[in-house]
Symmetry: C2
Subunit: 558 residues, 2 copies
């Protein structure tokens, strides 16, 4: 009898559940539920940096979507019984920390905090902690440079301690009421398994390692001395965080009786430790040593894994290097571009060329030969993540004449993101992490063959596309299959699970040698601009042009 | 009794006549006639570089428009009599050479050549002689660098000898049939005065000096040895060109009986030597030592005059330095930007942002504070004329984010042209030509107060706008008044004529000190980009990025 697992994928606006056949990865059923609170699930405020979610949506979302996929499976699969479901995996956004009480219940569940944004989940894209992030970065640079070396050299306002410190300073009542803080990726599995209480909670190494400076090498989270310099309350809080963080091969517990009743799932089936959506998307795309998985959406997340039994340098410019964060037993390496689809969306939605939909522009751009426009762009409209780690860089377009068309610009923007992608590949390889295969997933990989072809031509490598259109949820389902174990009908390892459950689409984008040659010339020019405007070792005095413009802008907008 | 002169202004698509009161510059009457041949007066062909005009349109245009303004004046001015008209001036496009027979009649008037584009007027914007221009530039650089020093370092495909040489090579029958070649600016006055025959023709120094390497210092046109190296036929032709070229204070003759009959003008009234439209626009805008006149249209023509009794360096980057080309007795200095309005038109007509008319974008851009967009652009979409003299430079836009709007870009493009304007002003002053006053004329100066205000804020100087909306035709009428002379009721000098007949609009755009300060910072950044991408002395290796892109483009389009 076939066995199934469920992958739960908590996104920014909705939660998705999929029910997957563990033998072949077939996605039998899918259910999506849009969060009820705020605008499309996000609670906003006058401060444009604020973005919160209500944890009640996480709870309700699990119930509704799990019920829905089970009901749907009954219709689709002959003689399907919920008992055939053997495990659950969970991925979420992050860093999305939630202040919780002594039982590990979110403060937002208490009546007095129900409408206080500070007591809710601090969504990944909440940037209220900008000042705190700078403070943490400065302190770490001074006394704990090793912390920064593992997270790309800059601690972000999107991350765990920036948010906590900002809460302490701006919403002290919430901070005081919070016994602890839990990442969304940890809280959802805990909720399903009744392990929310701090002494029972399992923290995942994905969130802890990438967003909270956790590393086994220095004893877990940042030391108390460091935290005390930021705020004594943070040092005290450290005692109430988990000692150890775990990878996704850890079962945090079994589905409780209450949740079994609520959803129809069998009681006691294991739930895997959570992880971030992109990382489980890597798993669902078949990530393995030598395989780069690119999750291409509004931005890009470029993931690789490297064996832990060989030394690995701190690769400059990477967003994070964390043992076990993607696959257990491997270093998880995360790089990325701060904007990919967002740049194309900007051109279509903000510049709004007449008749310039993505479809029309793509069609016109596809007819152009590489280099025929004379244009060259930098992909920095949202700053540069890898390899420059500089949010304050901005876009550049060069080569316009009096006849330049929107489609030419659109193509140049695609090419710019391809050049950025190649720069990341080169950086991995410069530090000994060979990129033998590139697998793409996410909306753009699915929908835009032109982007894929240009990526192939620019990088000189075939572009594969992940078979699943829901790689994050599939990755979670894979984790569910591994924690269920071979005996229960699951899998004995991620390698075995990925082999059975992941795959590639038949269409492979192969580099065209002629285009490749042109792009080699264009990439050399891209690197000249990249280094001139992005690095200080360039002698021409251009590296701070963009920053000076931002300073002038800030003054002008005062 | 009031005296009047007529200014004839031959443009690219039409000819305009105005009848002006010499005492106060009042423009009593205007008539415009669109040329009958070709598309809006321009004969085109499959070769996009080809642009010709039929000289018959020049003849018919003079007749129709002069008749029209005289008839109109009779209606408007009590007891007006054509005898009150005391002189005529003419301006035209250029270099627009016409092949002519032994009597100085255009070959196109002969039946066998009537439809041969090579026998027509080679309009200023005809670029068929690109290869010949490069050849002339290379030869001059080698053996006659002094020729290039007076015309900005590069001989253009738009100019006299490039066109003649191209005709010799591609339409030898026409070249052989041509006894001589006459600039449009010379032929129209000659036609009206019956002085077309080569031994009677008056060549104007404006065309000869700016477009045909004529200079009294080296004995007029380029020497025969030089011309022979290009083609022996050019050396022979030199004998059939005029020995000396003249300024606009020279009367080339009087209106013939035939033209008096044809138009109603008094027979014998003097016609001034012709000049180019922009230069007579300078005169009509009150050009004088210390006054920079900016003719702002699709491109800009920036004119100054400097006394000839003081030494003047060859100012690098100027398009031309010619004695008497603008005002008699002064060096005429011409600089310019290869695109101004054309850049704004490109954005509106090619990028076509939805709801993005010039009016809408200007209105939105006017609400923005200087520097508030974080954008910076180079004004090089059509290359750079002054000070880099490099047609193969291209545009650049820097500072885009994911929220950059069309109006922000539009403003950045306006600012870029303002920075280009300041660079020209600085260049004049670096070489001792003080800019005490800036007077603007042309469509943009008339119509776009935002552009004028930004120019004031960027340059830190008040922007004046010429009172007349037809400064070219007014300048021609002024020349007519001067050649008529004081005795006939005209003027004894250009100074006196300009004082009486030109003026400024009441609205002056004064620099705002706060904006000025921001723009000083932005201009410093503009110069960094300008020097990095435009000059070889910049060490960063960026100066050839745009050129390499053009090479790649050319290869891709093959």
């Amino acid at each position: 009898m076939a066995k199934y697992t469920i992958g739960l994928d908590y996104g920014t606006n909705s939660v998705r559940a999929i029910l997957v056949n563990v033998a072949n990865g077939r996605e039998v059923s899918t259910s999506v539920w849009g969060y009820a609170h705020g605008e499309k699930g996000v609670i906003l405020a006058r401060d444009p940096n604020l973005a919160r979610q209500h944890p009640a949506d996480y709870e309700k979302g699990a119930e509704l979507t799990i019920k829905a996929v089970l009901a749907d499976a009954k219709k689709k699969v002959k003689a399907f019984a919920p008992e055939q479901v053997i495990g659950v995996g969970v991925d979420t956004t992050g860093s999305t920390p939630i202040p919780a009480d002594e039982k590990g219940r979110p403060l937002a569940f208490q009546k007095k905090f129900a409408r206080d944004p500070a007591a809710m989940a601090w969504l990944w894209k909440d940037h209220t902690g900008i000042a705190e992030a700078e403070e943490i970065t400065a302190l770490a640079a001074k006394i704990r440079p090793e912390y920064l070396a593992k997270c790309g050299g800059t601690y972000s306002s999107e991350w765990f301690f920036s948010k906590l410190l900002h809460c302490k300073r701006t919403a002290p009542k919430v901070f005081e009421a919070a016994h602890t803080w839990v990442e969304c990726a940890d809280w959802v599995p805990a909720m399903l398994t009744g392990t929310e209480a701090p002494n029972r909670l399992t923290a995942c190494v994905c969130a802890a390692g990438h967003k909270a400076m956790y590393n086994d090498d220095w004893g877990g989270y940042p030391d108390k001395k460091f935290l005390r310099k930021l705020d004594p309350a943070l040092a005290e809080l450290r005692d109430r965080l988990q000692d150890r963080a775990h990878a996704i091969d850890t079962a945090v517990g079994g589905i409780t009786a209450a949740w079994a009743k609520r959803t129809g799932l069998p009681e006691g089936i294991p739930v895997a430790a959570g992880a971030f959506d992109a990382h489980l998307g890597g798993v669902g795309s078949g990530i393995a040593p030598g395989t780069l998985v690119k999750a291409l959406g509004t931005s890009s997340c470029d993931m690789m894994v490297a064996p832990t039994n060989r030394p690995l340098a701190d690769i400059p410019g990477l967003c994070g290097i964390v043992k076990g964060s993607i696959l257990p037993g491997y270093f998880g390496l995360e790089a990325g571009q701060a904007a990919v689809g967002d740049i194309f969306n900007w051109f279509v939605d903000y510049i709004r060329p007449t008749d310039g939909s993505h479809e029309t522009l793509t069609k016109q751009a596809a007819r152009m030969a590489p280099g025929a426009s004379g244009l060259l762009a930098l992909d920095w409209n949202n700053g540069n993540r890898t390899i420059l780690v500089d949010q304050r860089l901005t876009g550049l377009l060069l080569g316009q004449t009096l006849y330049t068309t929107p489609a030419e610009i659109y193509r140049a923007l695609i090419e710019a993101t391809a050049f950025g992608a190649l720069t990341i590949i080169n950086r991995f390889e410069e530090y000994g992490v060979k990129v033998k295969r590139v697998v793409n997933c996410g909306g753009i990989a699915e929908k835009n063959p032109l982007v894929m072809q240009i990526y192939a031509d620019v990088t000189g490598r075939p572009m594969y596309v992940s078979r699943s259109a829901q790689t994050c949820a599939l990755g979670s389902a894979i984790a569910g299959a591994v924690v269920a174990g071979k005996k229960a009908g699951g899998h004995g390892s991620f390698k075995a699970a990925q082999k059975a459950m992941t795959g590639l689409k038949a269409r492979v984008y192969k580099p065209d040698p002629k285009a490749r040659k042109v792009y080699a010339r264009l990439y050399a020019l891209y690197r000249r601009l990249h280094d001139a405007f992005g690095t200080e070792d360039f002698s021409g005095g251009l590296h701070n042009v963009m920053k000076e413009l931002l300073e002038i802008r800030a003054a002008a907008r005062k």
